[in-house]
Amino acid sequence: MLSDKLICDIIDSAVNSGADLAEVFVEDVRYQSVGMLNGRVLKADSGFDSGYGIRLMSGTNVVYVYSNDSDEKVLMKLTKEACSAIKKGDSVNIKELEELSRSTMSDIRIDPLDISKMEYVDFLKKSSSIMTTYDPAITESTCSLKTTNRIVRIMNSKGINKEENDTRIRLAIEAIATKGNEKQSSRLAPGTLKGFEFINDYPVEEKTRECCEKAIRMVNAGYAPSGKMPVVINNGFGGVIFHEACGHALESTSVGIKNSCFTDMLGKQIASPVVSARDNARIKGEWGSYSTDDEGNESSDLLLIENGILKNYMIDELGARRMDSKPTGCARRESYTYAPTSRMSNTYICAGNDSHDDIIADTEYGLYAASMGGGSVDTATGEFNFAVDEGYMIRNGKIAEPVRGATLIGKGGEVLMNIDKVGNDLELSAGMCGSLSGSVPVTVGQPTIRVSSIIVGGRDSDDSNEDEE
């Protein structure tokens, strides 16, 4: 889209205008998706998007311009505006662009973009044919499959010249169960950086049936109770608790401006001693992985917390300048329409020693959050909320009746301190994370954990299943 000569000219103009770092980001995205509703193909889409972003930095002053119009006149106008807006900083030498180096964290045998949309449909029909006939209680169903190939190139005045090329596939299956006026949905959405072989090997029939069962179970469930109680959170997507309650507050986007409850806490106890956690972008084929970040730095496997002690923050270039530190290779953005910021990749609580069954057996009364929905956090205060998609009461050390409609709320720092059991069954689960630089693929993860006390926002129900006690 943009020639190397043009890119070098932009970098030259930017540095001559007073920028101490000039960066050009070029992105090309190809995608293909198919979606079904109630057994019929209602969506089929394919296309490509491309664009570029030019970032100038002078100390902590940032100018970002972007466009998808590769007309040289548009580009030069935007560059000129960027150069006139940047604060005049220390003069720096421009390093010659290194030889282009290419990287990926994709692990692909069969390129999913080589597979026809009709084959996507054939695969999805395996799921939709089960959902449409499974049980009269399953009244609606959706499923979709989307592949995105993203190639980005990052060049800057420090000589960085990198290209990252990753292909992601995501499957989504949702079954909706109806009982009278009640509707409950159950959803699963695995994502991967592997090729179409992941889809071919995926036990879609078995997983679809589980999804239907869960929707039927939840539509028949009573409401969750209200108040503070112990909560056991299942492995996998349960890690959203750590993502929301702690992960966001360890990003330099908030730590760098002291807008985090974990500012200036390196080396201090911020979690219970049973908690260790990592942000590891270097797991080949994992949904949240990448090899080179959107600033051209190599990604990392970062130890965030070790036995409750805070070890590292996730830091991008701007954060590094604010914190007088170094970037950790965690700068990400949804697309060229965003300047990069510090973001999570595959973030998880490390495995502990207890078994899932022992943790349940050790809990006399509480809530078992078998599957979590999404949530959000205020990084300044640590206040978070997230939804329990599939919940059960724990009574006398046993999983009892299903309950629905529970939301867990609390403050990140307190919850981390209140984790008193960590299981040995670590699992990762795909998701999307929205923040300042848009929506990016991440995995969350954890083994089964128990929080000794957390506020459960449920509803006191007239038809609670007390008869099962």
């Binding site: 198919v34 109630n38 019929r40 193909v41 209602l42 089929a44 394919s46 491309s50 664009g51 002053n61 940032v62 100018v63 970002y64 311009v65 972007y66 466009s67 998808n68 119009d69 960027a82 807006a85 604060k87 949309k117 009709m118 009244t139 609606e140 909706i176 109806t178 009640e182 509707k183 409950q184 949905s185 409401y223 969750a224 209200s226 108040g227 503070k228 401006i257 002291k258 807008n259 409850c261 329409t337 300047a339 999404g374 949530g375 959000s376 300044a380 206040e383 909320n385 997230f386 939804a387 409609g405 939301t407 709320i409 609390g410 506020i455 459960v456 926002g457 449920g458 509803r459 006191d460």
Partner: protein, 448 residues
Amino acid sequence: MDLDFAESTLRKIVDRAIEYGFEEAQAAYSADASMAVEIMFGEVSSFENSVGRGISFKGKLYGQMGRSHTTEFTDEAIEFLISSAADNCKVLDDEDPDFIYCDPDNSELIYCPVNEAYEKNTYNRLVETGLSLEKNLLAYSDKIKAVDYLRISCSKGPDIMINSKGLRVFKDSDIISIIAGCRAEEGDIVKSGSEFWYGKDIDLFDEKAFIERLASQLLPKLEAKSISSGSYETIIENEAFISLFGSFVSNFSAYAMQKGLSLLKGRAGEKIASDCFSLTEIPMYEKAVNKVPFDAEGVLTYEKDIISEGIFKTALYNLKSAYKEGRKSTGNGFGGTALTNVVVKEGKRSVEEIAMDIGEGLIITDVSGLHAGLNPISGDFSLLSEGFLIKDGKKADPVEQITIAGNFYDMMLNVKEIANDTKALPGSNGEFFSPSIYIGKIDVSGED
């Protein structure tokens, strides 16, 4: 880009599509130019400027409506647009027909409300406004320790659409918005709060009122505490109510009803809310920043009751869902269906007067986690909330770390009174105007 060139490219695409074999075809060009500044520590921390454009195509082939999109304007890109839409038609298997439309009496739709005020949005003006706002926010109270986020942005851009049935649409729109997030501290207690303004003329931004609004919701939070779980008589403040209601708006779409995804299916003419609750869509509402004379399918919009004195009057239809029921589109076709500008009818009394009657209860000022803590189909919700207790009929202690939980449909039937303090929040195709709503009792979870 030259708009004449853009329009001639659209014509070329439509002509080429018909030649290719499409029965009907439509092409749309959308451009956007935006600028944003962010202020931090008394200086510009970030400046953004952008120019974007794209072409989308839809065409009917084999009875299916195929769609495609590109950002390129070359002949190769046009071929890609048409061939990939045709490929999509081969895969699609939709039993309900979709349409490309032109009303012969309204085949030329033009709406350009952008005025000269937009020219005031220069870099210097945005910076000056931002620096002043940051300075005065910090000066307002020594408890406000930082302005963590302050962004002023403006954007405008024309949209052109033409189709093989003879429709030609030209639309331009603009907006400027200001958002600020502050952190307040007292001892070990840290709280944050934010405020938002949008409009079409930066001269109309009232800094003092903005700061008052932000501070009046932020500073009381420093004293906030959780409360005991229980059932509380509750007023949901205007903005919180708009956020909550907005999360359930998809249930009013006829498409959702036809697909079994809305509990409002078949309930037109029935009572779905309390008698005191009326909701009217007024696309050209005088108080709205942007008016909406026609929808994205080229159908004229019009004023209509959605809920009138508690009775559900009409679902929202686009061309496709209207055809399925043998009726006309309601002018709500925006991709799927969406509301334009909507207004909840005001009551007569203030929140303070209603609180006097309640005596003991709760005012909810903010709800969080709307994307996660509610089931948009069943209407169940359980949301992290903040607000104030009502004690002896007066707004009293601030409240934090609670959830309110209930069911949207039950809540609407239980509404007791509508206040007279209307505010607006923007949605994707218009604004939602609502006063605060006294919803009766609701379950609250907090500290026991």
